[in-house]
């Protein structure tokens, strides 16, 4: 026991290069010494990688410089976005209290992220404005036109329109506001719609439409996503002249109905991608045809 701890002490000194010659001669007589010495010598030649401080510092400094350079393009991008927003802003008339952030879509629909990652999918010819700075305290968006909202969980989320307000109690809903219609469709969660001192709670797949007199129609089990999102227009008993306005806007051509057919009601739809097919989708069920007059398409009764 005593001898063993003595050996341990000698081995420790030997490993630390602190052993005297006399002690070493004692240790050499130990039965394991040859094996231990072999391990001691071999282990000091093991390869655990070499590290060159100068090379590594140079590499580090290059990486630090690169990361500084990389940040610049993102700044440029941010600036470009700011300029774009600025251009859009000048193209719009704005009410004073909403002067903060305005997004509009004169030509094509657009998905926009609000500061809390709620998203707004804006239809053509629509705009939203909101106060970016105060967004954390008050999630209020003013809407013109039509948009699909997907709202992150949090405090109340309000969409203000000229015809009434929509308060979100849930997650996804569509709002459409024009001179004739104020229509809200709920796709997920719950939505409260207030207009003309009336409050209507919408559950998923409910849709409420207000006519200009302020009366409303509630439809249930409507659809799971808005038609315009899927690049399709769908109508339920809509006047042809109204349908053709959508066609004109979507394809950027003038399409009108002759007087005799403009009040025909249309139930059906057309796809946004192809004008020829869109016209067929409307004409065939109604038994109509069209002619071209000075870059204008006029729909008439089939002869």
């Amino acid at each position: 026991m005593n001898e063993e701890s003595n050996i341990e002490e000698l081995i420790t000194k030997w490993l630390d290069n602190e052993i005297s010659d006399q002690e070493l001669s004692i240790l050499k007589k130990h039965k394991d010494f040859q094996e231990l010495e072999k391990i001691k010598n071999a282990s000091s030649q093991l390869d655990y990688g070499t590290y060159n401080k100068e090379d590594e510092l140079e590499r580090l400094q290059t990486r630090l410089k690169e990361s500084r350079v990389k940040k610049r393009p993102s700044m440029v991008k941010w600036l470009a976005a700011a300029v774009l927003v600025g251009v859009i802003m000048t193209g719009l008339y704005t009410s004073q209290q909403w002067s903060n952030e305005i997004i509009s879509t004169p030509y094509a629909s657009l998905v926009y992220q609000l500061p809390d990652n709620s998203s707004v999918h804006l239809n053509n010819n629509s705009s939203i404005s909101f106060n970016k700075k105060n967004w954390v305290n008050e999630r209020v968006v003013q809407l013109k036109g039509e948009a699909l909202f997907t709202v992150q969980k949090g405090a109340s989320f309000i969409v203000e329109t000229s015809r009434g307000n929509v308060t979100v109690l849930g997650t996804q809903f569509n709002v459409m506001i024009s001179d004739e219609t104020f229509k809200v469709t709920c796709f997920e969660g719950k939505v409260s719609v207030k207009s003309n001192n009336k409050e209507i709670i919408l559950n998923p797949t409910d849709e409420v439409a207000f006519n200009p007199n302020g009366n409303h129609v509630l439809k249930q089990n409507f659809t799971s996503t808005p038609n315009w999102i899927n690049s399709e227009f769908i109508y339920d008993n809509q006047s042809l002249s109204k349908v053709l306005i959508d066609v004109s806007e979507n394809f950027n051509v003038k399409v009108t109905a002759s007087i005799e057919v403009e009040n025909i009601m249309f139930t059906g739809g057309f796809n946004k991608s192809n004008l020829k097919n869109a016209l067929k989708s409307i004409e065939i069920p109604l038994g109509l045809q069209h002619k071209k007059v000075n870059n204008e398409i006029i729909m008439t009764k089939k002869k």
Binding site: E8, I11, T12, L15, D16, N17, D32, E35, L36, K38, I39, K40, A42, S43, S44, L46, Y48, G49, Y51, K53, E56, L57, R59, L60, R63, L64, S67
Partner: protein, 171 residues
């Protein structure tokens, strides 16, 4: 908010000094501790980049601890993925030859066994042992660097050696 001064990590000279003082030490410590982790140089680099990005928040005397912590986290993250690999690598490579204790092992065979036996040491034993063997550090220096007593270092190194002797025979 502090302004970068002479004694601040944000000062480029101070930062460079810290790199020269600690990068190699970090590299060695973690290479010895976790020999299976690849790309240790890059992990060390990342930790210094993180130090630079946070230089205003870190006091100069806390920089070393910060670096150790960052490297440790990165390495442990890596090891999660390596666990399975490690398990298989620990399976002894059985040689079909009859090896008697008196058999003289060839140099290369011995080396393989030694390497394998070192992999099987505990992390703390391996670190102390290799710092002594490869870097030729005195026990006291190792104790200072690891922040433990000299006695503890001696215990780790001695038990590492005896473990190695035993394991090499058994393999």
């Amino acid at each position: 908010m502090k302004n970068p001064q002479d004694e601040e990590v944000c000062n480029e000279d101070v930062y460079r000094d810290i790199f020269f003082k600690h990068s190699q030490e970090l590299f060695k410590f973690y290479s010895y501790k976790y020999p299976l982790v690849r790309g240790m140089e890059d992990i060390i680099q990342d930790s210094f980049i993180k130090l630079w990005n946070n230089c205003a928040k870190i006091e100069i005397n806390k920089a070393r601890a910060f670096l150790y912590k960052v490297v440790n986290n990165a390495v442990l993250n890596d090891i999660k993925h390596l666990k399975v690999v490690h398990k298989y690598e620990q399976e002894p490579t059985t040689s079909t030859n009859n090896i008697t204790p008196t058999h003289v092992l060839e140099e290369k065979e011995f080396h393989n066994r030694l390497q394998h036996a070192i992999d099987l040491l505990s992390e703390s034993q391996r670190v102390a042992f290799l710092m002594n063997r490869i870097d030729g550090k005195k026990h006291q220096e190792i104790a200072d660097e690891l922040g433990i007593s000299k006695k503890a270092v001696e215990k780790r190194i001695y038990s590492a050696l005896t473990h190695l002797r035993k394991t090499i025979k058994e393999l």
